[in-house]
Symmetry: C2
Subunit: 156 residues, 2 copies
């Protein structure tokens, strides 16, 4: 039966698919550098990474900074506290809010992982010139803003 009117989806040219594939590969590669060695899940690493960059943050701030679901952050924070990698203190100005910081132990884990993930990143972009790297991040930023503006108008 002729389907001349129907446009089949060519996955290799479908941007969301391509992005997903590459992102998954990188996530696995990243996970391989720290997951077993440091007993960390990707979201836990993300929390450590944020707290390594900023001195202290609340869970809600981490959610907004990393655009990650609050339940996932909550669970990761609880595990990191239990593993004594971060500390949690109630904010005196808003007792709903907690103040999170890396412990010395957490900081040492963070400082051990950073060179590894930076090395991985270097390997990833080894085939790109410096100009191409900048270009890629710029285009990615444009797509990021587009998808964010889509989310602002929920369809329900």
């Amino acid at each position: 039966m002729s389907s001349g009117q129907f446009t089949s989806l060519i996955l290799d040219a479908f941007l969301p698919y391509r992005l997903s594939i590459v992102s998954n590969k990188i996530r696995h590669a990243l996970s391989n550098t720290y997951s077993k060695k440091f007993d960390l899940t990707p979201v836990e690493w993300r929390v450590l990474a944020v707290l390594g960059q900023k001195e202290e943050m609340s869970a809600d701030e981490i959610c907004r900074f990393t655009e990650t679901d609050k339940v996932a952050i909550s669970r990761a924070v609880s595990k990191l506290v239990r593993k004594k990698r971060i500390s949690r203190k109630r904010s005196s100005s808003d007792r709903r809010r907690s103040i999170l910081r890396l412990t010395k132990y957490g900081l040492s884990i963070y400082e051990s992982i950073v060179p590894l993930v930076l090395q991985l990143e270097d390997n990833l972009v080894a085939g790109l010139s410096a100009g191409e790297r900048r270009q890629f991040l710029e285009l990615l930023g444009k797509i990021d803003r587009q998808v964010s503006s889509l989310k602002i108008s929920p369809e329900f």
Copy 2:
């Protein structure tokens, strides 16, 4: 304490992180277009998408084509068969292998979703010129090949 010797990780400039954020946003946006409406998970959609593009494939071929874990594909295939969206027939030349195809029902679901996801893709790249789109996919392809070559050398 001076930490002049240590390079903190700046997440906004960290490519894997940026890719992950954008990819997650897109995955959610995509999922919103078909997940509830068509009762599909992302992996199930991926299987439909591949079978919509190719007439028939084995599970193993879908795994390799989409670079997706065989357990995930196996589970998605079983659910799609149960939902009568694809059919599964044993290969006569290799009885380990199954031949998967879209059913009429599955094809109609596929044909309903494709315009939606193509529209979403159009919206995603609305801020890019045609040249920038090509450039982005080319650079993404380079990164893809780099990360694939990393995986070829497992570290254990």
